[in-house]
């Protein structure tokens, strides 16, 4: 009994020491510029399960724990926006039982986020679910809408969960919204002209030509990710060097970092390494940003 108590006290002290050291480390790093927005591609959960001879689902569960601790580190460091690639539209091609398992897992974890001990309360998180939400099943979609509504007044930090998402789908959606908007803009003056007796055909076409000009700004304002600034760092775990249809539009000048560790193995040292490299490239990245603003 006594050894149990001393064992408990020892681990408490050790935990306290680790937290203290982590806070000191973050204070040192925060002397330099801290990225405002970090994006993660959480790759390697299945490989992790295979590596440790676990059932396939355990990899994703370990991945969720890793996500929670990584989010905690990011918000502690002072990062305001964190985006995670939770589910790609391509992932629907997986076995139906795996897709169902992932959706059920996400439903369970979404509910947890709002709980007393959840991240939302700890960090004052506003949560966005980014992607083609119409592709989600009804219970998941309802849970997602509930979380977005419940956190809409939080201002301290933001979590963007991309599910189900692909960049190409986002671009098509933005183009569609721009076209629908333009149609509404065009139809009012044209309808008025027609009502005033203007002949159809030539006049209508001329009117269309004058107004029908979608600009880049129109497309950009309808992107799903328009609720956050472009990411400052993109981290993809498990050493893969491609973006897999994630944030292709938003990462023009965003350093891409591909640590070899699988997602459940990713920890504070990978985050620290990515941020230190960001600080090293900061003068160059700032110059690019200023150039883009002045154009």
């Amino acid at each position: 009994m006594l050894t149990e108590k001393t064992g408990g006290i020892k681990s408490l002290l050790f935990g306290g020491l680790v937290t203290f050291l982590r806070i000191c480390l973050f204070k040192v790093i925060a002397t330099g510029p801290i990225p405002e927005h970090i994006a993660f591609i959480m790759d390697g959960n299945r490989r992790y399960a295979k590596k440790h001879n676990f059932a396939e689902g355990s990899g994703h569960k370990a991945g969720y724990s890793s996500l929670v601790s990584m989010l905690g580190h990011c918000y502690e460091l002072g990062v305001k926006y964190v985006t995670v690639y939770a589910f790609s539209i391509d992932n629907f091609k997986r076995r139906p039982d795996i897709v169902k398992f992932l959706m059920d897992l996400m439903l369970e974890k979404i509910e947890l986020l709002l709980g007393e001990e959840g991240l939302v309360n700890q960090y004052g998180l506003r949560i966005y679910f980014i992607g083609n939400l119409k592709l989600l099943s009804e219970p998941v979609r309802a849970a997602v809408e509930k979380v977005m509504k419940a956190t809409e007044n939080n201002k301290r930090a933001v979590l963007l969960v991309c599910m189900p998402y692909t960049s190409t789908d986002e671009i098509v959606h933005a183009v569609k919204q721009s076209c629908e908007n333009k149609r509404r803009e065009i139809q009012t003056p044209v309808a008025t002209k027609l009502a005033n007796g203007a002949s159809e055909g030539v006049e209508v076409m001329m009117e269309l030509r004058k107004l029908a000009n979608i600009n880049l700004v129109d497309v950009e304002k309808h992107m799903y990710m328009g609720v956050a600034p472009d990411p400052d760092i993109l981290i993809r775990s498990s050493g893969e060097t491609r973006l897999s249809n994630f944030l292709l539009w938003q990462t023009a000048n965003c350093p891409l970092y591909s640590p070899a560790a699988l997602w459940p193995e990713l920890d504070i040292r990978h985050l620290v390494w990515a941020v230190l490299n960001f600080q090293r490239s900061y003068p160059y990245l700032e110059k690019k940003k200023q150039k883009k603003i002045s154009e």
């Binding site: 190409t168 671009i171 897999s244 350093p255 891409l256 230190l276």
Partner: protein
């Protein structure tokens, strides 16, 4: 009042000292990081020499035909180094890579495309849309020149094309207009604006940072992106290593 003033003085000294200590520690951290990169840089130079001289047998034989389409992204400030670009393209030709897209955000290479092609043998400039399979079956070398206007701005132009079709279908009635907003239609609209939509298998980034500098988003969904460092310090051995390692990659595509 006097008491709080007295307490504030040591506090401000302590906080100033603490800030100085933090800054010193931060500078030390970055000094260690820079030293690490210096050592890595030296190791890369040695490795590149061993590979290009043929002493490293592992890199001697590989099948570069797996690199069907290669993108070279150059930081616009380095894109003025035309002689380096010509050298890089001739290295790639020697390694058997036949179809290359040269991209820089500001279009510096696009403006000097004649000057670049002039210094190379039997290279065709690829303009407009092309089919990857048809291109790959050709034996002659092709060079595509792209810039920022082929990326986001091309999407805006394609949006205008789709808008035209959308408005026409809307006038006909029957709710057919929604059906044109799909990825295949978008790809066709991009091709119709004169853009190439071929997806490179591999992208080599020459510049200070590993980022794609705004390369057309539609084309890099599954492109492997590798950072090669500065164009001014490019090495043949590093190029061989990257292409060799690419030929060993296996992709899951989300499944």
């Amino acid at each position: 009042m006097a008491f709080s003033k007295v307490m504030w003085l040591p506090y401000s000294y302590i906080s100033r000292i603490a800030n100085l200590v933090l800054q010193r520690l931060w500078h030390n951290m970055h000094l260690i990081l820079n030293t690490y990169y210096l050592v890595v840089g030296i190791a890369c130079v040695l490795e590149s020499y061993l590979i290009s001289s043929g002493l490293w047998k592992e890199y001697k034989a590989f099948n570069s035909s797996k690199v069907k389409y290669l993108a070279i992204v150059v930081d616009s400030e380095e894109a003025y180094l035309t002689s380096r670009i010509v050298k890089l393209v001739s290295w790639l030709e020697a390694l058997g890579v036949k179809h290359i897209c040269l991209y820089d955000a500001e279009g510096v290479m696009k403006k000097s495309k004649e000057a670049i092609v002039e210094k190379l043998n039997k290279v065709t400039i690829l303009e407009g849309a092309a089919e990857k399979d048809k291109l790959v079956s050709q034996n002659s070398m092709t060079l595509e020149f792209a810039s920022f206007s082929d990326g986001k701005e091309a999407v805006a132009k394609a949006a205008n094309l789709l808008l035209g079709t959308y408005m026409k279908l809307a006038e006909l009635g029957g709710d057919q207009e929604e059906k044109i907003f799909t990825e295949p239609y978008m790809a066709e609209a991009l091709k119709a604006t004169g853009c190439n939509v071929i997806e490179p298998d591999l992208m080599l980034v020459y510049g200070p940072v590993r980022c794609h500098h705004g390369f057309p988003a539609w084309r890099i969904r599954y492109t492997e992106i590798v950072h090669m460092g500065s164009l001014a310090e490019m090495k043949y051995g590093s190029l061989i290593k990257v292409i060799y390692e690419f030929t060993m990659v296996r992709q899951n595509y989300g499944k």
